[in-house]
């Protein structure tokens, strides 16, 4: 059965590029693209919501 992937929305206007989401993601889903975070490997996402929880800038929304 195909794994249902979550959607990770990154509001680029809000992101200040602090690296917190990239660093604290346990499965390294995110990466920095220039000054803002972006999704690199969505298949690895385990929906732990750490990125959304820790983003100080309200820039990440994860929906399963």
């Amino acid at each position: 059965m195909e794994k249902k992937l979550p959607t990770i929305e990154i509001i680029e206007k809000y992101c200040k590029g602090c690296h917190i989401c990239v660093e604290f993601c346990p499965t390294k889903v995110l990466e920095m693209k220039g000054f803002v975070a972006s999704v690199k490997n969505l298949e690895a996402c385990i929906k732990c919501m750490q990125c959304e929880l820790r983003c100080p800038d309200f820039a990440i929304k994860v929906s399963a």
Binding site: K16, G17, F24, M49, P56, D57, F58
Partner: protein, 269 residues
């Protein structure tokens, strides 16, 4: 599912002014989740602050908010609570605002045990005014006004609050994000003056001067120094050296000011 923060934030106010990696945003999210858990109504909740980076927080929240004079959050909040005792009053501010300029208001609010919640974001420095040392700057740390190291010992906000008579005192960190909303929820539900100190990071004015290479290093320091109260019971004094206790540190039931004052009004009639 993603938590809907947007319904509690004033439209068009984001992005906020805090620097990249500043923990105030994490605390604000924790506060929003705690308010949501407690089911506080927007029109029946006042969020009061003084001046400083942390005190910008009420500006973003869609509640009854009050941005007051430096250090005077507790004074204005006392006024709000006395005029409308049924209102939920939450104070937010930084360590400099709360314990230096507003130190007097803070200890007397604790003493009176007014039914309010004070969230102090302790980032060890005056961030907004250019990195001057605050009463919470650790001994030896560098600030713009202590370039050769701070000779003063730092305040322990939790001990100060307990000593002054607060009836609920808790401490969390910006790293332990899920703990923040649990502590604030418990503080809001407590009847009496509750103090929640959140250890925070200031990468711009504190981290830069004190050899922290990145925001991540500052966050990991918070992770390393924090020891939950229960775990600390099993540790020796040697192991606890340099550690900071987190969790609910103190809780007691005592008559609160609002109820006592209502009795005074009844007696006077």
């Amino acid at each position: 599912m993603a938590f809907d923060y947007d319904k509690y934030i004033r439209p068009g106010k984001l992005p906020h002014i805090w620097c990249p990696g500043c923990g105030h945003g994490i605390v604000m999210k924790g506060l929003i989740r705690a308010i949501d858990t407690c089911g506080l109504e927007k029109n029946n909740t006042a969020i009061v602050s003084g001046i400083g980076c942390a005190s910008r927080l009420p500006g973003y929240l869609d509640f009854c908010t009050l941005h007051t004079a430096h250090g005077r959050a507790a004074a204005f909040a006392t006024g709000v609570k006395m005029a409308k005792p049924e209102m939920n009053v939450i104070l937010v501010g930084g360590d400099g605002d709360g314990t230096a300029i507003g130190g007097n208001h803070f200890i007397h609010a604790c003493r009176r045990n007014i039914d309010m919640t004070y969230i102090i974001m302790n980032n060890n420095i005056y961030g907004m005014t250019g990195g001057q040392f605050s009463p919470c700057t650790p001994t030896g740390a560098k600030a713009s006004t202590t370039p050769y190291g701070n000779p003063d010992p730092a305040f322990d906000i939790a001990k100060l609050a307990i000593g002054a008579g607060a009836t609920f005192v808790a401490r969390g960190t910006a790293y332990h994000a899920t703990q923040i909303d649990k502590l604030i929820t418990e503080a809001i539900q407590h009847k009496g003056f509750s103090v929640v100190e959140i250890l925070d990071d200031c990468p711009t004015t504190y981290g830069r001067r004190n050899k922290f290479k990145s925001v991540i290093e500052m966050m990991n320091r918070l992770k390393d120094v924090a020891v939950p109260v229960k775990a600390a019971e099993k540790m020796t004094a040697e192991q606890l050296q340099g550690k900071i206790l987190t969790g609910v540190l103190y809780k007691e039931e005592r008559p609160n000011y609002t109820d006592e004052y209502a009795k005074v009004i009844a007696r006077a009639k």
